[in-house]
């Protein structure tokens, strides 16, 4: 066991940590922008509205993240529409492909969380709001969304943790994230245990920070 490796190469790991953090954070943020409308559309009674949302969620929840990344990274290059146009400017970058795959993936999972909390919305609250004479939009803004957010928090913190862990596959398409850094270090020192143990520690720090932050946030709601 030689942990001086981890100390010698700490800059590599820190760069990887930064890549993982911004990649996951940006995916989660963009994913949320997709998830809210998709989750709402999915909750509709009309098949014309909920159909497309359902297909999107079905595809991205029904296939592994790794396959989605391969489809976007390797598959996209095959189509002239992407390869021969301005789109290629983005698709040729590994970080863009990873960001796109992660965003769509977390968007689908988060939409499912949103659909879940909307469908289990207490009917009495909605009826009360209606009795007060609120419009559909007002009910959504004042009752449905705040109530759903509170109930969605535990499930969403899980989704964030899954994304942090899932992002480890970014290294496969040449991105040097935490796992990517560990691979390079392993390749240099032929010391897999030390190299990946360093990565494990960093992922653990990230995960516990997220758990801690959400615990604070959730307790703020419950004490009200």
């Amino acid at each position: 066991m030689d942990f001086s490796i981890f100390i010698n190469e700490y800059q590599f790991y820190l760069a990887g940590l930064w890549t993982t953090v911004w990649l996951v954070a940006l995916s989660l943020l963009l994913g949320l922008f997709i998830a809210v409308p998709v989750g709402l559309l999915r909750s509709s009674e009309n098949w014309l509205i909920k159909g497309p949302a359902w297909s999107f969620m079905y595809f991205f929840r029904g296939t592994p993240l790794l396959v989605q990344l391969f489809l976007i990274y390797y598959g996209a290059a095959q189509f002239d529409l992407i390869h021969e146009t301005w789109l290629w400017h983005y698709f040729q970058e590994a970080w863009f492909c990873a960001l796109l795959a992660f965003t769509l993936n977390t968007g689908a999972y988060t939409a499912e969380i949103i659909r879940g909390v909307i469908s289990t919305m207490p009917k009495s609250e909605l009826e009360a709001a209606k009795a007060y004479g609120m419009s559909e939009g007002q009910i959504l803004r004042r009752i449905t969304l705040p109530n759903s957010l509170r109930r969605a928090l535990p499930a969403y913190s899980n989704e964030i943790i899954f994304m942090i862990h899932g992002s480890a596959i970014a290294g496969i398409v040449t991105i040097v994230d935490i796992t990517g850094a560990a691979r390079v270090v392993n390749a240099r020192y032929y010391a897999p245990f030390e190299a990946y143990f360093g990565a494990a520690l960093l992922y653990m720090c990230l995960t516990f920070s997220v758990i801690f932050a959400f615990k604070k946030w959730e307790s703020r709601y419950s004490t009200r």
Partner: protein, 258 residues
Amino acid sequence: MKKISMLIALFTLSVNVAQAKEWTQIRIGVEGAYPPFSQTEADGSVTGFDIDIANALCAEMQADCTLIKQDWDGIIPALMARKFDAIVATMDITEERKKRVAFTNKYQHIPARFAALKGTEYQGSPAFMAGKKVGVQRATSMDLYISDNYPDAEIKRYGSADEAYLDLKAGRLDFIMADSAAITGGLLEKEGGDKFELVGPKLNDPKWFGEGAGIAVRQQDKDLVEQFNAAIKAIRADGTYQKIQDKYFTFDVYGSEE
């Protein structure tokens, strides 16, 4: 008393036998993703120059060999973890690796080269390479060479050479570097490879590329090194090596005699 001394004698004898053990069962780690040296066929079997050499050496040593496929990234750790006893995978004999494993004499020596889209301008200077996207297989001597000489290039590291070829074809890379014969067999002669060419000089500076590719074994297995060295010499002498070389290459892949 006599009995005991005899027992001791017998014991020391058996220990001696164990030390000077003749290896009759050898597990060999191969990569299976570096054509034409080592590639995986549709049915899952591995073929290629490295594989034929490994089999020829085993036949020469009259050893019973099993080939085990292992990704390049983990091939040295797997050797040290005793998943197999030797690596035959076009592994350059470098000082860095010698700290971890022991090597036989070389069994081939091929220079590394860059490849790029035909007509691509190439200059070897670090200033020219700055900002260029260069693909290379992670943890190879080529990786180290590029990392040391072109620190300002955008270096993309891949798990296998095949993945780097794929991204070169897709236009994500300006240059790739690999063993010249691997580029020829794995990229240029394959479908869609005619748009690419080797560029720049043949690179074989021993500082990065060592003295050719050898067979790696664990450092304590000196007897296995000797056994392999004798076998390499024998297949060089009896024409087996030549026959295998001619099957894959039209040029000499061994280089100068030691």
